[in-house]
Structures are given as structure tokens and as C-alpha cells.
């Protein structure tokens, strides 16, 4: 089903994409051999518009459905010294913290919204369904599983095994490429895209056993959340704070889940 040939878009598709603000890079469409069709372009534009309308309510008359969605990236630094390291340990921990926090950030706490995680690691993807029902161990197992078929980039179609009503949280291992953080593209169906940066050891202010403050060596990562109008800014701030809190309290006792 995937096309590995260079993407060729017809003049009509290119013009429609330009007019409707749809990015064609890496898009695989529903046409023969993965060709992006004119209806794909229009649907992409409409999909964003419909979701915008669902979140924000009826548009004021001056707005045009053709405006591209606004994307913002918010970055926090998290102390992950306590988090288990290892190939997938950090990623699993982030996912385990992020999914429930994301659900909290959605309108009506995302009732009826299925969230699946698409984990991007070294160019390979794994789609994890029902991520918020998995424990850390389960997440680890899912991450160790064989990845989905490699894709050149963001896939506009629902991933392997996805139900049409699922929405995804894309989690990218930016650290694998040595980045501190990345501002990420969002695919159709993504609620947000979270980049997990490379762990960096640095001197930090810590609380000493005697209550005084001292200098210690901590391992930090940057978490960068790219989101659009689906999520209000305040909710994003809360979400990231929640994720950071959870990751920084790991190992200090059972649970601690914010849900």
C-alpha cells in the first residue's frame, strides 16, 4: 500500500494544495498507487476546518476555512534522573505520563476520544493503541515490538490497526538524533506531537538531606509539545506541568498518576 516512488502530484492537486494551505510533503493519498487526489486535498482542508469548528464553536464571519491551523510549540525541561534509562525506558515513561495528561487537557476530558500513540524512533514508527490502559511494563513491551513499516514521513492515513475515531499523540525520540527538542509537523488525526530530547547531564540546584540547597548532577531532557487550535494554551501548560511532575516524582512511591 505504501509508495516508495518519489511523490508526484498533478498540477491540479498542487494548485488546490497551495490554495487551501495543505502541505503535500510526504503525503500519501487515497488515489491509485498512493497518489494524492483532489478530494484528499479538500478533505485535509475540511478535516482541519471541522475540528477547528468543533473546538472553537462557530467561526466569526470574517474567518476563512482555508487558513492553515496555527501551530505552537511549548518546551519544558524535565529532571529525569529518577527515570529508568535504557532503550525505551525514557520513552515509555514519557508516554505513560503524557497520555493521561493529554486526556485531561481535552474538552470534556476527551470523553469518547480514543488516543493511540505513534512512537517515532530512528525513522521507525510503532503505533500503540489504548496507550492509556497500558502500564509501564506494557508500554515497554509495546515499544520493544517490531516497528510498523518504515515511512518517509508523516502519514495522512490512519496507522496500522487504527480505528477511524482514534486520535493520536505522536511521540518523537528527538534525542536519538541528538536534538534537545524539535518543533514537529502534525499529521491528520494528531492531537499533539511531543518531542523527547536527548538526556543531558548538567549541574543543578538540589535539596540536600539537611534541607539546605546544594549543587548536584542531574539528568535533564527537554519535552517539546507541538499543538494547534485543538488544545487551548492553558490546557497545554497544565498538561506539561503534569507530565513533568509525574516524571520527576517517579520512584518516590506508587501511583502518583494525576488522573
Amino acid at each position: 500500500m505504501t509508495s516508495t516512488r518519489r511523490q508526484v502530484h498533478s498540477p491540479r492537486v498542487r494548485r488546490l494544495a497551495r490554495d487551501h494551505g495543505v502541505a503535500l510533503d510526504g503525503l500519501v493519498g487515497t488515489g491509485p498507487q498512493g497518489r494524492v487526489t483532489t478530494s484528499d486535498v479538500l478533505r485535509l482542508d475540511v478535516a482541519t476546518t471541522l475540528w477547528d469548528n468543533a473546538i472553537a464553536g462557530p467561526q466569526p464571519s470574517g474567518s476563512t476555512p482555508a487558513d492553515p491551523p496555527r501551530r505552537t510549540t511549548a518546551v519544558v525541561e524535565v529532571d529525569v534522573t529518577r527515570v529508568a534509562k535504557g532503550t525505551h525506558g525514557l520513552l515509555a515513561a514519557v508516554i505513560e505520563a503524557a497520555v493521561p495528561a493529554l486526556r485531561q487537557a481535552l474538552p470534556d476530558k476527551g470523553a469518547g476520544v480514543g488516543i493511540r500513540v505513534v512512537a517515532h524512533e530512528g525513522g521507525r514508527e510503532r503505533t500503540i493503541r489504548d496507550a492509556d490502559r497500558l502500564s509501564m511494563a506494557g508500554l515497554l513491551r509495546a515499544l520493544q515490538r517490531a516497528p510498523d513499516e518504515p515511512r518517509a514521513g508523516i502519514d495522512a492515513r490512519p496507522g496500522h490497526g487504527a480505528q477511524p475515531e482514534d486520535h493520536s499523540l505522536a511521540v518523537h525520540d528527538a534525542g536519538g538524533d541528538g536534538f534537545l527538542f524539535e518543533s514537529l509537523p502534525m499529521a491528520v488525526g494528531d492531537l499533539a506531537a511531543l518531542s523527547v530530547g536527548a538526556p543531558v547531564e548538567r549541574p543543578a540546584v538540589i535539596a540536600q538531606p539537611d534541607g539546605e540547597r546544594g549543587i548536584g548532577i542531574r539528568t535533564c531532557v527537554h519535552l517539546a509539545l507541538t499543538y494547534d487550535d485543538q488544545l487551548p494554551r492553558a490546557a497545554v501548560a497544565t498538561m506539561l506541568a503534569s507530565v513533568r511532575g509525574r516524571l520527576e516524582r517517579l520512584g518516590q512511591g506508587v501511583g502518583g498518576a494525576s488522573s
Binding site: 498533478s10 498540477p11 491540479r12 494548485r15 491509485p32 483532489t38
Partner: protein
């Protein structure tokens, strides 16, 4: 309203104009006494007499030269070239004399003449009596070219051609002479330079003319049963060309196909394809494809002739395959 055949429509169109204008005369081989070898001028000698309906020797250059000289000096002749293949015999008069003289004389000369001709194949007459020559004619600046595909259009376009002050080549399709359709009574006058959408659609634009029109329409009906809604346009006039209608259709459907009886190279569709590739480029969702007879002379055996000319099946098949790839 009454049933009118394509061949009778020719005579009706000429008679309509001869009645209203004494300057209109008809000249050609066997057009008077015999009413035309295809019976397209039956009854005209009886109604208008031998002074206005003239039988000539077999002398195509003399016939067209006479038409030109008469048109220069006050008459409005209709001259017949019996089989359009014979244009090759008198092509000098058409392209060097008729097409260029107004221009060369700085507009001193006007040539309100019509050359009617039996055009096209499908009748097993063999290569020298079956050519479609519209593409030869549209390539020459200074002559207008029309090909009607229905009896009503025959009457209306013949009238328009005779009333036009420029030279017009009127291509009758020999394969359509027996075609019958309901045509309104009374005077019919059409407009040169206009195409007609015969079937509206959304998925593809198919252009055709002459005998390819019924085949294109049949193909469209077949395609509809397979979920492809084709728009079929009867080009009718190649010079002047109704590019507006064609471009508007391609803007709607994004796909263009031509169905041409002429051999492939530089058929009438080639020019239209080039225009669309230029002015309609950003509307195209796929390559422009021409469905034509291959670049060969036409064979005379019926099975071979049917094999090489575009058919409803070959048109539908090409369009469907293109839309799926």
C-alpha cells in the same frame, strides 16, 4: 418538427439560403442533374434552375478557382469537392489563393464562399476516399472549418457558413448521411466558432466531432454504468475554435480526451491539447490523451477499418484506464 436525415439537411440548408439571397449559387460535379453523388443536393436544380445550380467537369482546380473569382466579384458561391480526399488535387486554390488573397491585397478582396465536401471514413471506400481533412484545413490561416454531427447542426451551420463573409470549408461526414433526427421546421441559423456540450459531466472531458460524436456519447453512457461521469463536447467548429468552452470544461473535470478520426500526428486534437497544456495546466489532474486512428492510411477491409478507427469501446476503455492510473 419532423424527421430529417443528415443528407437532406444539407440540401435544406443550401435551399434555405438560396431562397433568401439571389447571389448564392451552387457548383460542383454531379450536383445539379443527379442531385449529388450522395444525394445531398437533391431538388435544388428543380427549384433554382441551371443558372444557379451548375454541373461541372471533373476539374477541382477549375471549380474552386471559379468559386473564388465569383466570390471576389459579388456572388456567394457554394462549391462542392465530392470527396474531401480530392482537396489534395486543388489544395493550391484553397491555401495559396483563397486563404491568402484577402490578406495580401490589404483587405481589398472579400471571399464569401463555402466549400462543402464529403469527409471521413467508415464506409470501406479505401484510403483515397476516406480521409478526414479537418486538420489539414485548420492549419491554414484564412479559412474557417466546421464539421456538424447532427442534421440540425447541418442546416444551421450551412446557413451560418453561407452568410459568413469568409471562406468556410463545410465538412459533411459521409458516415452520417443516413442519420435521422427530429429537426424543427422553419429557418435555422447557427453560429460558427461555437462548440456544444452534448452531455454534462464531472469526471472527464471528451471532445469529438463528426462521426466520432455518436461514438463518444455511447462511450459516455457506458462509462456512466461504471461510475465515471464524462462530459462530452461536440467541437463542431475547428476554425474559429471555441477554446472557452473547452477550457471551462477542463477546469471542471481536470481530465481531457479527444476522439479524432484523423491519423494521430497533428490531428485536430493536437492543437487543443497544446492549448490546454498551456492555459489549462493547473486544472489538469492527469495527462491529456488523444484517441485517434493510428498514423496509417485507412484500410478498406471492413474488419480492418473498424479495428483502427476509434470506437465507443476503445474510447470508454481508454478513459477508464486513464482515470484509474
Amino acid at each position: 418538427m419532423a424527421q430529417l436525415s443528415y443528407r437532406d439537411a444539407v440540401a435544406r440548408g443550401i435551399a434555405q439560403e438560396m431562397r433568401r439571397d439571389d447571389r448564392v449559387v451552387l457548383v460542383g460535379e454531379d450536383v445539379a442533374g443527379a442531385g449529388g453523388v450522395f444525394k445531398t443536393t437533391a431538388g435544388l436544380l428543380d427549384e433554382f434552375g441551371p443558372r444557379r445550380v451548375v454541373d461541372t467537369p471533373i476539374a477541382e482546380q477549375a471549380i474552386l478557382g471559379a468559386a473564388m473569382g465569383a466570390a471576389m466579384t459579388g456572388l456567394r458561391p457554394v462549391a462542392e469537392i465530392m470527396f474531401s480526399d480530392f482537396f489534395a488535387v486543388c489544395w493550391d486554390i484553397v491555401v495559396n489563393q483563397i486563404a491568402k488573397t484577402r490578406y495580401m491585397t490589404g483587405g481589398q478582396v472579400t471571399l464569401p464562399l463555402v466549400i462543402k465536401t464529403g469527409n471521413g471514413g467508415g464506409l470501406r471506400f479505401g484510403a483515397q476516399h476516406s480521409q478526414s481533412i479537418e486538420n489539414w484545413a485548420m492549419a491554414v490561416p484564412g479559412i474557417k472549418v466546421v464539421t456538424p454531427s447532427t442534421p440540425e447542426d447541418v442546416v444551421g451551420l450551412m446557413a451560418a457558413a453561407i452568410r459568413d463573409d469568409d471562406p468556410v470549408i463545410f465538412c459533411e461526414h459521409k458516415g452520417l448521411y443516413s442519420m435521422k433526427a427530429e429537426v424543427a421546421d422553419g429557418e435555422i441559423v447557427d453560429t460558427l466558432g461555437t462548440a456544444k456540450v452534448r452531455r454534462a459531466g464531472r469526471d472527464a472531458t471528451i471532445l469529438a466531432l463528426g462521426m466520432m460524436m455518436p461514438r463518444a456519447l455511447a462511450a459516455a453512457e457506458d462509462l456512466a454504468t461504471r461510475g465515471i461521469d464524462a462530459e462530452v463536447i461536440d467541437v463542431r467548429s475547428l476554425m474559429p475554435l471555441d477554446t472557452r468552452t473547452i477550457l471551462a470544461s477542463v477546469a471542471k473535470t481536470g481530465r481531457l480526451f479527444t476522439v479524432e478520426e484523423n491519423p494521430q500526428v497533428l490531428g485536430w486534437g493536437a492543437e487543443i491539447a497544446a492549448i490546454v497544456a498551456d492555459e489549462g495546466f493547473w486544472d489538469l489532474d492527469g495527462p491529456v490523451q488523444r484517441i485517434t486512428t493510428p498514423h496509417i492510411p485507412l484500410p478498406s477491409a471492413d474488419s480492418l477499418e473498424d479495428l483502427v478507427m476509434p470506437s465507443a469501446e476503445s474510447v470508454a476503455g481508454t478513459v477508464e484506464k486513464a482515470l484509474q492510473s
